[in-house]
């Protein structure tokens, strides 16, 4: 069954008709040609499909496009301002936070969302609660980024990149 929806993707208004079964990930990639979010596992287990959905990081493979009519989607493509990269993107380049690059758009979006969560004082599994401000130690970065797998194992450099931006 088809439904008409509108998504605001990387600053552009996109209207389309989707089969209700279409995930947000497939709508972006297959229907709108927005290929920054990647399909790794398609089951919520790898994080490569992560975008900022209405301002928060979210996987897109386990959520239906119809359920997000009117939503604001920012993919790794939309993070840069013109030719100047987002600080997180810059840091991934500076620290070699990637090898094949397949997980990178998801990592970058996840990191941007995670930095905002930490700035808002959200705790993580490894936060000793009671402390007001969250200090992004390597342990904190690893825990908060655990939803993004990298099969090239670029983790040390990903952590280094995020550490630099968190400072």
């Amino acid at each position: 069954m088809d439904e008409s929806i509108t998504l605001h993707v990387d600053g552009r208004k996109r209207s389309l008709t989707v089969d209700t079964r279409t995930t947000l990930l497939d709508a972006l990639r297959e229907r709108l040609g927005v290929t920054a979010p990647k399909k790794g596992c398609d089951h919520g287990q790898c994080g490569s499909c992560t975008v900022l959905l209405d301002g928060r990081r979210a996987t897109t493979c386990l959520t239906l496009a119809v359920a997000h009519d009117g939503a604001e989607v920012v993919t790794a493509d939309g993070l840069a301002e013109g030719d100047s990269l987002h600080p997180v993107q810059r840091a991934f380049l500076d620290h070699d936070g990637l090898q094949c690059g397949y997980c990178t758009p998801g990592q970058v979006c996840s990191a941007v969302g995670m930095l905002a969560e930490a700035a808002a004082g959200w705790p993580s599994h490894v936060t000793r609660d009671g402390a007001g401000r969250v200090e992004l130690t390597d342990e904190e970065i690893r825990e908060r980024m655990s939803g993004n797998l990298c099969r090239c194992g670029a983790y040390p450099n990903i952590v280094a990149a995020i550490r630099e931006v968190a400072r």
Binding site: M1, E3, D19, T20, R21, T23, D42, H43, G44, G47, T50, L53, R56, R57, A58, T59, L62, T63, L64, V66, A67, D69, S110, G113, M114, E117, A120, G121, W122, P123, S124, H125, T127, D129, R142, E143, R144, M145, S146, G147, N148
Partner: protein, 329 residues
């Protein structure tokens, strides 16, 4: 995936009526479990009623001291809420020990409670599974059952409930507010989940059309001294092998009151009433913790691959209580 119609509900009564009228309908919240099941062919609804935008997304203090958590509150918002962190730290900890940041931003309170087992055979439509297809048999009984139940299982099903949140809520004795075809009712969380018995297809006592609208947390001062400890195969982003939610009230080294629930050991979060009884009035010592853990786990009947869960559950309980009581000193 079967074709289905999608409707976004704007009011709870209408959502309940819509699902009640359609035998093939299901509620959709964050979708992080249901959409997975649509892809796997485990669920085949012909109508999805999206309840994630219902005005059930607030956490509020009730006049009598309880706290009401709306069913559409996202797992991440619940975990980060200052009131929850202060009054019910185990609840926040349980959520933060589950899934990942980007999943918790989608997952809701109601959906988390009603997520279904991660038993691999349940998720694999090519294998027999009594929970998915009643009467087809249980592949886990003689199959790979390392992650399965050690308590309360039946010959029909040995699955465990996967939710971390539900374990903390069980220790807290939360109450689940339900709006059904016949109106509203309150179900103590201890009565929400079923043991498999001979009807493993039913995870809970809820019926078709029953919508969880909220979860009420009791005013429980000792919950301020509570913790959630989860043991898993990797440090993060994995389901529990065993977990423990506990709250204690210790005065002068004596346990005045205690609440304990286990996760990862049974078809439902396992309230450790036997251990609680043994501990009340006892000195807060490692010996007392261990005795209580062993008594609770005495009825355990491990399967071929999960005998390790019995000592693991015991030592996890001891470690949790040790952590809580040492802190208080």
């Amino acid at each position: 995936m079967n074709p289905f119609e999608y409707r976004r509900a704007m009011d709870a009564t209408a959502a309940v009526a819509l699902v009640t009228e359609h035998p093939g309908a299901a509620f959709l919240a964050g979708g992080t479990n249901l959409v997975d099941h649509l892809k796997l062919g485990v669920a085949r609804p012909d109508l999805l009623v999206d309840v994630s935008r219902l005005p059930l997304d607030t956490i509020s203090s009730l006049p009598d001291g309880r706290v009401r958590v709306g069913a559409a509150v996202r797992n991440s918002d619940l975990a980060a809420d200052p009131l929850i962190r202060r009054r019910y730290p185990m609840l926040s900890a349980a959520l933060l020990a589950g899934a990942s940041g980007q999943l918790r931003n989608l997952a809701t309170t109601g959906g988390n409670l009603l997520q279904r087992t991660r038993c691999v055979y349940f998720q694999d439509v090519t294998t027999p599974c009594n929970k998915r297809e009643p009467g087809s048999g249980c592949s886990a009984l003689e199959g790979y059952n390392r992650g399965h139940a050690i308590l309360g299982a039946s010959e029909q099903c040995v699955a465990v409930h996967p939710s971390d949140l539900a374990v903390a809520l069980t220790a807290l004795e939360a109450e689940v507010q339900v709006l059904g075809p016949a109106g509203e009712r309150t179900i103590p969380i201890g009565e929400l989940y079923r043991l498999p018995g001979d009807a493993p297809e039913r995870d809970t006592v809820l019926s078709h059309g029953d919508l969880i609208t909220a979860v009420d947390l009791p005013e429980l001062p000792m919950a301020a001294c509570s913790a959630y400890r989860k043991v898993r195969d990797r440090a993060s982003y994995a389901f529990a092998l065993v977990s423990v939610a506990a709250a204690v009230d210790v005065a002068d080294g004596v346990i005045r009151d205690v609440r304990i629930a286990f996760g990862g050991v049974a078809h439902r979060p396992w309230r450790a009433t036997r251990a609680e009884q043994l501990l009340r009035g006892e000195p807060a010592t490692e010996t007392a913790f261990a005795a209580a853990a062993h008594a609770e786990l005495a009825p355990a009947r491990p399967l071929a691959h999960n005998a390790f869960k019995v000592p693991l559950a015991a030592s996890t309980l001891v470690a949790t209580l040790r952590g809580l009581t040492e802190e208080g000193r």
